[in-house]
Amino acid sequence: MIARYIGRRLIQAASVLWLAATLAFVAMKLTPGDPAQALLAASGATETEIAERRTQLGLDDPLPLQYARYLWSLAQGDLGQSWLHGRSVGQMILEQFPATAELAISAIIIGTALGLALGVLAALRRSTWLDTAATALAVIGLSTPTYWSGLLAILLFSLHLRWLPATGEGDPRHLLLPSLVLGCALSGSIARLVRARVVEIMEEPFVQAARARGIPPWRVLLVHVLRPALPTALTVVALQFGFLLGGAVVTESVFARRGLGKLAVEAILWRDLPVVRGVIVLGALVYVLVNLAADLAQAWLNPRLREELA
């Protein structure tokens, strides 16, 4: 039964990938600007030489043929060569992926921890100054663009306090500042939803009953309240993964980290279609897999869902 469920989800995943690749293709074709011209204009190449390059890149062929070739090579797992870099796209992505994954994962850990803590705290001390402060923090995290909070964090922690290096990578210290910035931005929406869910659960009869049985308050919180609230947090985290991939782009640039974000921005600016395709398909793949994993984890955390599946 569970196998059939996963199978269904994988077919869904394949169609998401096809859709993402197609959207990327259409968007790149609708964007004005000719890649061959962008590559060669400043070099003083003649019109004829630029036209030759256009033919070489297959940009003269009819669109349906270009699209078919685009999907066919993708289906074969061939990501092609970057027009701008002249290197294999698969290899370029492999070089950048670990840096982005590292940032995304640590931001998720920080964002979830912070979001859970703020959300629970706000729910427990509802309508006190603590609630207001936690809510304010969440809203600030949610609404501050990371390029701005990133610069503020650099100013404070690197330039004034000199605790952490501003840029670069290597040891965990380099990772801490960017993942804090991204994690804080992430924590806002988690905190808001966790707070709402915890408030709801606290009203439930089984919580009242647990309290009445004399179970210590910390145990009521951890076992009876937090456990049913976790699936909510998990769904938000998985859904936020898309935001995270986007936020990572900006964060990477502010903290001078490498990563897929930089690669994607450059490729879009130069109309480097093979690289755009590679990054978008990979992003879609990761997003689909993370959400699949989250759904499976949900089922594991929530007995009712587990039964439905079985």
Partner: protein
């Protein structure tokens, strides 16, 4: 509860990282101790911040200026251009001569030069490199076109090589002096194929030691280097290793320098540069870049800019000094003509044109029939308002310049529609002539660069010129190797551009480099972009 434990452990590990503070900022470079004691000195490693992670860094394939900053020290070129005298000096070629018809260049190569991988450098290596660059399979984005009407390379003997051209091409030596035509090891190129750019091998003063794309690039001093051009002055230089790191966001560059994360940093934003200039701990090395100044090209085929009076009114009505002061904090010179003032062949008489004179601008517009009849603040003629479409790219402070121009011209009753577009889109818009105004600048040491902008068939002919005489001057100047004849032609060309008012020069590009004041000997080649790292040294830290 049990499930929470690993999570809490993870969290506490993460938080523990922030508890021990970093030591106060000290430059990572440590001077070599005097060899009195027995221990091996740590090599000096300088960190050099670049502005972008170069996109593809094979100089034969890719086109960015960024790639040349590190790689100028990895490769040697056949000749070098002395920025002081403007003369070409020997490099890998000890001497050269040019045939009577100027279509064959013979180079006599230096003997005893080896690539970093031990491959000997000879005439065959030169032929291999030029064939590689011109091969269609390589899909070169710049180097191929720098060779102009290249036909083939002939190996005359082991140390003599002859380049044959289809027609005379005066900029050839200038091209051969640049890293894009640097000499790569044929062995390494064949061994690594399409991965060569990760494993580059030249004959230069530094070896290409480690490269992690978009993270860092490490160069290490080449101990065998004994064939540098006379323009290198490396007697006192100490830097053993140079690590390039990438700072794409302009706002992060000066902080990285100030926290000691980099000793040298390229392209500091003007406001930060002005601040650093006042500090004793930093030096600002402002290098003017030769080439075509930042200028706004006026579409001479689209009304109302097809009227020379309106174009001249725009030129008179532009307060360039105000733009340079406000946006560039006076770190760049005002541009007066199409060529930057330090470009060979620059005609100083361009300074006599179009001094800021709003009264003159208004008079020209009045005379051309543009008068504000409906009192809406915008001049009009035959019911058409005087509104211009301006397209801008996001880099080089172009959006801010566009805003200032719009404000200055608004006072003259000229409206401006500003639109920021990407580079490929700008090429398309300007190619189709949908613009009134669009800015660009391009670096290059040879005045032939003017041909890319003012020849009727040029890719950047964004003024939409169709001037047979100008085309002829540009073509003749590109073919003539007699410098005085070229100079006379380029002078005519520059003055013609100004007389016809086809572009508004704004500023000469200046590369603002910041460095810790312990860095000495940082200077740049004739292009203004490429540092001679072999000359860089670090003074003793107090």
């Amino acid at each position: 509860m049990k499930r929470l434990i690993p999570f809490l452990v993870l969290l506490s590990t993460l938080l523990a990282g922030c508890c021990d503070p970093l030591p106060p900022a000290t430059p990572t470079a440590t001077p070599l101790p005097f060899p009195s004691s027995g221990f091996t000195p740590t090599p000096i490693r300088l960190i050099y911040g670049l502005t972008l992670a170069p996109s593809g860094i094979d100089p034969h394939v890719n086109a960015s200026s960024e790639l040349g900053i590190p790689l100028t020290s990895v490769y040697d070129t056949l000749v070098y251009l002395d920025p002081e005298s403007g003369e070409f000096v020997p490099g890998l070629a000890e001497d050269w001569d040019i045939s009577e018809d100027e279509m064959a260049y013979t180079f006599y190569l230096r003997k005893g030069v080896t690539f970093h991988d031990g491959t000997p450098f000879d005439a065959e290596a030169v032929r291999f490199n030029l064939e590689r660059i011109t091969s269609p399979d390589l899909a070169s984005q710049k180097a191929r076109f720098m060779l102009g009407p290249y036909e083939r390379t002939e190996v005359v003997d082991e140390y003599t090589v002859r380049i044959h051209l289809g027609e005379p091409f005066a900029p050839l030596l200038d091209s051969l002096s640049q890293v894009y035509l640097g000499m790569a090891s044929p062995t390494a190129v064949e061994k690594w194929g399409s991965d060569y750019q990760l494993h580059q091998v030249g004959t230069g003063p530094f070896t290409f030691a480690e490269y992690v794309p978009q993270d860092y690039l490490l160069l290490r001093r080449n101990p065998d280097y004994a064939w540098g051009p006379k323009i290198y002055q490396h007697e006192t230089a100490l830097a053993e290793e140079i690590e390039f790191r990438f700072f794409a966001d302009p706002a992060t560059r000066s902080p990285a320098l100030e926290t000691g994360e980099a000793e040298i940093m390229g392209e500091i934003p003007p406001q930060d540069a002005v601040r650093l200039m006042e500090s004793e701990d930093f030096i600002i090395e402002a290098v003017p870049i030769p080439g075509v100044s930042l200028m706004f090209f006026l579409n001479t085929t689209r009304a109302p800019l097809d009227d020379v009076d309106v174009r001249q009114a725009l030129l008179y009505g532009t307060d360039r000094q105000a733009i340079v002061s406000t946006i560039f904090r006076d770190t760049s010179p005002v541009a007066y003509g199409p060529l930057a003032a330090n470009t060979f062949g620059y005609e100083p008489a361009v300074r006599d044109y179009y001094a800021y004179d709003p009264t003159q601008a208004a008079a020209l517009l009045d005379a051309a029939g543009w008068i504000d009849t409906d009192d809406d603040g915008i001049r009009d003629k035959d019911g058409e308002p005087l509104v211009l479409d301006m397209f801008l790219m996001s880099w080089g402070h172009m959006p801010e310049i566009g805003q200032l121009l719009a404000a200055q011209w608004a006072e003259l009753g000229i409206g401006v529609n500003n639109q920021v577009v990407s580079y490929p889109e700008a090429l398309e818009v300007a190619g189709e002539g949908r613009h009134h105004l669009i800015p660009f600048n391009l670096s290059g040491s040879d005045p032939d660069i003017l041909r890319k902008f003012f020849h009727s068939e040029a890719g950047f002919n964004w003024s939409k010129l169709d001037d047979a005489e100008m085309d002829n001057w540009l073509e003749v100047a590109a073919r003539t190797s007699d410098w005085e004849e070229r100079e006379a032609l380029y002078s005519q060309i520059q003055l013609r551009v100004m007389e016809r008012g086809v572009a508004i020069p704004i500023r000469d590009y200046v590369n603002l480099n910041g460095a810790s004041s312990q860095v000495e000997g940082l200077h740049f080649d004739a292009q203004g972009w490429f540092p001679w790292l072999i000359d860089v040294t670090v003074t003793e830290i107090q």
